[in-house]
Every structure is written in C-alpha cells, then in structure tokens.
Amino acid sequence: MKDILVIDDEPVITAAVTRICEAEGLSVDTASSSAAGLALLSRTAYRLVLCDVMMSDVDGFALLAEAARRGLSAPVVMMTGYATLDNAVRALASGAADFIAKPFTADELLAVARRALRGVPDYVPCPPSYYRLGGVSWVKEEAGGIVQVGLSDQFLKTIDGLAALELAPLNEEAAQGGTCATVVTASGDRHGVASPVSGRIVEVNPAATNPAAVEKDPYFGGWLYRMLPLDLPSDLKSLVSCSSDRL
C-alpha cells in the first residue's frame, strides 16, 4: 500500500508533486500516462490518486471511469488548468474527490492531498431536494428563483476542523466550480470552496461568519449565501440530486 499515485504526462509536475509529498513523509509513485497509471493501479493499492485532466493518451475522465469500473476505491483528485473550470465541475460530478487548479503552490497541493487522504468518514448526507457539487457544496432552490448555497457535511468532515471561513462579499458573482468561499482549517490549510452554481450573491448568512454554526448545522442554519443564479437548469445538470443518493 502506497500513499499517492501521480499521473501526469508532464515530468516537472510528477517530479514536483513527488518532492513535496515525500518531504511530508508520504510515499509517491508516478505514471506519465493514463495507461501506465491504470497498470500501476491494478498492481498496487493507493490511498490517493492525483491525475491530470488533459493527457495525450486517455483523458482523466476516462481514467476516472475506468477506475470506478474496476472497483478501485482510492479517491481521485483531478488536476485541471485554469482554462477548464467546467472540467473541475465535471470532475466533481464524475466522482472525483476534489480538484486542484494548475498552477498550484506546495501548500495548496498539500491541503488538497491531506483532505483527500483523510478518506471518507461518516457524514450526514444532504437532505432530499438538495443538489450537491461532488462532496463540496450544495444548493437548494427557494421561492422566487433564489437559491441557497452551503458547505456539505462531507467536506467539513474531511478537514481537520474549521478554523475560519472567508466569505465573498455581497453582489459578488461566482462561477460554477469557481471559488466562492475559502475554508481555513485548524492546521492552517486553505481550501477553496467550489460554488455549485453560477450567479450573484444577494445575501450572505451572518451566522456563517461563525465557523461553529456552519460545522454544527451545514444544511440549514449554516448556509453560506443566497444567490441569484444565472442559469440554474444548466448548472443542475452537473450536480447530483441528494434524493438520488438515498436510493
């Protein structure tokens, strides 16, 4: 059992990830193609797979699907470029544990890696009629075309304690998959929270400035924003219905 498998056709990325992770005491294997990655995955068990979205042979999504087909349980974190924000949404919708936008710093990488390595502990699933973006955030439709947006319990359980929550100001516009808030963990890691929908923030929950309130009741009292969505129907296509989770 090894800790991390990095799959990227760019050697400098695999080398950098190896350096950074090994310095943290994690064991790392690298693969320079999807095929090589899948070959390693079938031989060795990993606690985390870091995989580039765009590779010359098979893209990251195909690898994700293949890993799921083979019943491999290791969480996959997709590495996407800034050019492909929708890829990030797609990654979360396709079952990736998280995504990290290139270029990233060592701290950003480690924050994502640590969260993914923490595994999937017991968490409260989102209530029915909610939609979720991966295990990160949720959205709930309200009357008048307004939606409520918040953090999913799964996300909160995979960080080592919520120390602070940096919220976006009123009237800020967020894109689906773009960062709408930043979570600071007890150990100082910073995680961007991907917004489940694109839209303008019309109300910020005053209670959400208190991290304890969010941690305690992430689905109701601990909501983050009310947003005016730009195109909710198309955004919903990339989200998972929480009612379907319960089937």
Binding site: I13, I20, M54, Y82, A83, F104, P169
Partner: protein, 621 residues
C-alpha cells in the same frame, strides 16, 4: 465597348434628337422659302402676262397680226422667259415666241389648257393661283412655271373694225406665258445645301459640347465611382472618392464614401471580434501550455520557501518568485477571463498600495528609459472594493504605456490619487435594457464612446429606423438613424415586438416632449426625453442611491501625447499606434477590467503636451 458607354449613348441620343429637329425645321423652312420664291415668280409671270396682254391689246383691236407677232417674239425671246404664246378658243396657237409652234393645235389635256378644261366645261373665270402651274417641258428637263391669262371678250373687241369676234363669245383666247424655274431651283438647292451643312455642323458642335459636358459631369464621376466600387470590392475600404460636385453624382459619391466608412468600421469590428475569438482560443491554448511550466516554478519555489524558513536571506527572494508566479497565474487567468468576460474577485484594498506595488514592478524598466515615477498619494482615500491583482495590472499597463509615450529621452510620470463623490448622472452605465415584453434593447454592434448602446425602433414622419441611446445615464449624445425634427411626433418602440416605449401622459420636465421608458433590471425604470438634443433622463433607482464615492487615480506623463483622431479608439482591442512593438491589447484589457469594476477610465491628451489617464473606481462595489 464604346457603344455601351453612357456618354456615347447620351451624345448619340442628343445628336439624333438634333438631327430630327433640324431636319423638320429645315424641311419647313425650305418649303416656305420655295413657296415664297414661287409666289414671287408667279407674281412676276402674272405682271409679264398682263404687260404682254395690254401691250398687244391695241394691235389686236387693229388686227395688226405682224406687230403682235413681233412684240411676242421680242419679249418671249428674252433669256428669263421660256416662251409666250396665244391660243384661240379652239386651241390653235396663233402667236408664239417659238415660231415652230404657230398654227399647231393644243390638246385640251395640255398643261396650258388642263386647268380650265379638266372639269369638262371650260371655266371662264379663274383665280391667279389657279392659272399657274409648275411642270417640265420634257421629262427630266428643268422645271418651268406657266401662267395662262384668258383674253376676255370686251365691247371694244366686238365693235372693232375687223369684226373677228362675235359678241356672244366670252373668252376669245388664252395668253400663255412660260418662265423657266432654273434660277429658283438653283436657289433652293443652294438653300438645301446650306441647311444640310448647318445641320451637320450644328449636330457636330452639339455632340462635341454634349460629349464634353457628359464626360465632365457624368463620365468622370461615374468612372470614379466605378473605380471606387472595384477598389472597395477588391478589399480597399479606406478608398474614398473625391467629392467634386453638389449634384446627384456628388451626393452619390458622398454616400458612397459614407457607406465605405461604415463598411470599414463594420469590418473592423468583425475583424476585432474575430481577433478576440482567436485570442480566446489562443489564450486557452497558451494557458494550457503555460500552466505546466508555471506549476513547476510555483510548486518548487513555494516548496523551497517552506523548507528554507531558517534562511531569511533566501526567504525574501523566494517570496518575490512565489508572489510574481502567483501574479503570472492571475494574468493567465485574467487573459482567459477577458476572453470569457469574467468578473473580478473584489476585496477591500488600498488603491495607493496597489499603485505602489505596480510602481515597484516597473521601477527598473522605467529607470532604464530615464523615466521618473512620482507618486503623489492622498493617504486619506478610503479603501475600495477591487481585485487588487487586476487593478495592479491596470497600473502596470498604464505606466508602461506612459513610458513608451515618453520615449528614450526620459521624462516624468506623475500618479496622484484622490477621493471623490459623484452624482450617478453621467457615470452610471445602463447595462441592461428591456421592453415590457422583456426583449433586450442592448445593442453591442453600435457603440457610443466604446459602450454598447440601447437600440429603439423609431418611426417619424413616414421614416422608420433606429435610434441608439448612449448607455451612459443622462449624458445625451444619442445616435439618430433617421432624420428627426421637433415638429413631428416621434414614435419609439421595441425593435423586436414593436411594443411602444412612449409613456402615456408623461412629459419631459425640461422641454415638455413625450417621454420614453424601458426597464433596466434589476434597477427599475429608465425614462428619457424623446426630443432630439434633449439629454434629460431619469433613473429613480439610481438617483435614489445618491452620490457615489470614488477613488480617482490620475496617471500623467509628459510624453508625446495622443493625436485627437486616435483618442476615441485607444480603448478598442488591438488598436495600437506602436506598430510592431505593441499588441494593442493593453488598453482594451484595462478598459475591460475597469468596466468590470463598474469604474471608468478616461483620457485627456494633447499631441506633444502629454497624456493623463483618469481612472475612477467605486469605493463600494
């Protein structure tokens, strides 16, 4: 082909018209000339006939046949007289200037008898007109005019000693005088020749003059237009026709120039949007390509920064590397955001600090060009909600542009900041506009001062067209696509569903004209005066917010300045006066960023006297 030339056709038509007109005129004139000449000869013949008749009367009464014969021969042998003869009632020639004829009988069908005897019974009284006839003695011979003069029975005749005529006889005989018409015919031929010569020269002169004028007034301008259309068709949209005249072709030339100018603008816009689309693809490609190397730099440098906490001398340098790599990441991102028109990530920031940071980045570059950067910050300005990275990029771009304008001889860039409070009129942009049926009225193709306009369908005095409103609230300066005067009603409607936008029972408080209105969600109704030239607008939601707080930063350079004709275009994408050295993206990126901050950027400049960019950023988003 010559016959296809409009000048040739026109000249031909004029020549043909002249030919017909002159021919008709010449025919009528020659005929009348001929008639008057004939009348003259006729009168002369009549006189001669009467003279001969009275000259011989005495001899006739005395039956002096020899004397009569001599008189007639003498008179009749004159060159201007063809012949003179006298016939008795039975048609026998008793006297004649042509001796050979004497004694011969003349047929009743002969020229001299025909007139009187044609009706079967001889006419006894004839008008002078009816006594003359024109004929040819021999077929093909010269024309002659004959006049017959009946010799009537008079008391002196039947009482004369000779008793030759009984009293009952009415006409005793006929004096027939024949004159040659050779001279008249010559005269007529001469006149005909003259008319033909005149007609030909007139037609020639007319054709030359018409051809010259047509060439000057039609051919040359039409050829110019033709050449211009060919040039334009060939892609040269900057080609203009010299506007020489005020006539219809001059107007055509003007509207042609106008059309090519519009076409050129449209092509430029198309070209620009095309460029932007390619830029978007390029940016995506570049972002993908550059992300990996940038990840290498960022991961290693940030990793080093973590590992070398014990070495402060390394830390400072590494921090710069990490910071600048993060800035590169933001630049790549903003390049993509520009292509996607994304929104800035605003946080409260001290604009003075952003200016200072931007100054540090370009300091060394400016020093190399002997450019001094003087910061005159107003420390009391409030923090503004901005995307610090984007605004820093704006300043860096402005500083580099200023330095380029100053050139290698060196100069000074002065950056000053100030807080200011502005009424929403003239600084708020109408970004959304819709009719009661929610059709968008915003028109991106027609821009006023670089901003999309609000398009309304206008009907006025039988004309229908569009009016483009300046989207800057209260600024006026709308574009009218149709001619409009104050006296007639102007109907304004949605271009898509034709719903009227004129407010019933509302009048402009300034001039009393009807008022139009449209929705600008989510900020309520925008009203405005429909009269051309009246800038009145009311936007209650915006007015209610009152004056807005701004941070103003002025970036002044004492460089070469911007020529007046370039000023309206400098914020357009890819508009560059730097030739090969500039990409032309800088100022349009700046404009895009500032616009996304709901701020404004303006330029004040005079060629040779330096340039000032005035940047205003709202304190609250």
């Amino acid at each position: 082909m010559l016959s296809r030339r409009i000048g040739f056709k026109l000249t031909g038509a004029v020549a043909a018209t002249a030919l017909v007109t002159i021919s008709v005129f010449a025919y009528v004139s020659i005929r009348s000339h001929e008639r008057s000449l004939l009348a003259e000869v006729e009168r002369h013949a009549n006189q001669l006939s009467e003279a001969v008749k009275s000259g011989t009367e005495y001899d006739m009464l005395g039956n002096q046949r020899e004397r009569i014969h001599q008189s007639i021969t003498r008179v009749g042998n004159q060159s201007s007289i063809e012949r003179i003869r006298v016939m008795n009632k039975s048609g026998a020639v008793i006297y004649s200037s042509d001796a050979a004829e004497i004694g011969k009988n003349v047929d009743k069908q002969a020229e001299s008898c025909f007139l009187c005897h044609s009706a079967g019974r001889p006419l006894e009284r004839l008008e002078i007109k009816e006594r003359t006839r024109v004929f040819r003695l021999q077929p093909g011979g010269p024309r002659t005019l004959g006049i017959i003069n009946p010799i009537y029975n008079a008391p002196s005749c039947w009482t004369a000693a000779c008793h030759a005529h009984p009293r009952s006889q009415v006409v005793l005989g006929v004096l027939d005088v024949t004159l040659p018409l050779t001279a008249i015919d010559r005269e007529i031929r001469r006149a005909q020749l003259e008319v033909v010569i005149f007609a030909l020269s007139a037609i020639l002169a007319l054709s030359v003059i018409v051809a010259f004028l047509v060439k000057r007034w039609v051919d040359v301008p039409v050829a110019d237009l033709l050449a211009a259309t060919q040039r334009v068709a060939g892609g040269d949209l900057r080609y203009t026709i010299e506007e020489k005249s005020d006539d219809e072709l001059g107007m055509l030339a003007r509207s042609f120039n106008n059309m090519t100018a519009k076409l050129s603008e449209a092509r430029l816009q198309l070209f620009q949007s095309d460029k932007l689309a390619s830029l978007g693809r390029l940016a995506a490609g570049v972002a993908h390509e550059i992300n990996n190397p940038l990840t290498g730099v960022l991961t290693y440098s940030s990793f080093l920064l973590k590992r070398t906490k014990a070495q402060p001398e390394l830390q400072e340098d590494l921090k710069v590397i990490v910071r600048e790599t993060l800035r590169s990441r933001e630049i790549v991102k903003s390049l993509l955001d520009f292509a996607r028109q994304s929104v800035p990530k605003k946080t409260e920031a001290d604009v003075n600090e952003i200016v200072a940071r931007a100054a540090t980045v370009v300091e060394s570059q400016l020093a190399l060009n002997h450019v001094k950067l003087v910061l005159v910050p107003d420390r009391s300005i409030p923090k503004a909600a901005v995307d610090a990275n984007q605004i820093q990029q704006v300043f860096i771009n402005l500083f580099v542009n200023a330095s380029d304008a100053i050139g290698p001889k060196g100069g000074t860039i002065t950056v000053s900041s100030a807080a200011l409070s502005l009424s929403p009129v003239g600084i708020t942009q109408i970004k959304k506009a819709q009719c009661p049926k929610r059709h968008s009225l915003v028109e991106g193709e027609v821009r006023i001062d670089g901003k999309p306009s609000v398009r309304l369908k206008a009907r006025h005095d039988g004309n229908e067209g569009f009016i483009y409103l300046n989207s800057m609230y209260g600024m006026g300066g709308h574009h009218y696509g149709i001619p409009v005067d104050d006296k007639k009603e102007l109907a304004l409607a949605c271009p898509e569903c034709s719903s009227s936008l004129i407010q019933p029972n509302r009048e402009c408080p300034r001039c009393g004209a009807p008022v139009y209105a449209f929705e600008s969600p989510p900020r309520g109704l925008v009203e405005g005066c429909s009269r051309k030239g009246c800038p009145w607008q009311r936007w209650e939601d915006v007015d209610a917010t009152g004056a807005k707080e701004f941070v103003e930063v002025r970036v002044h350079d004492d460089g070469c300045g911007i020529a007046k004709e370039h000023l309206p275009k400098i914020f357009e994408p890819f508009y560059s006066t730097k030739g090969q050295t500039g990409t032309g993206l800088g100022l349009s990126v700046i404009w895009g960023i500032v616009d996304n901050h709901n701020g404004s950027i303006a330029v004040e400049s005079e060629a040779g006297a330096g340039t000032t960019f005035v940047l205003r950023l709202p304190v609250k988003p």
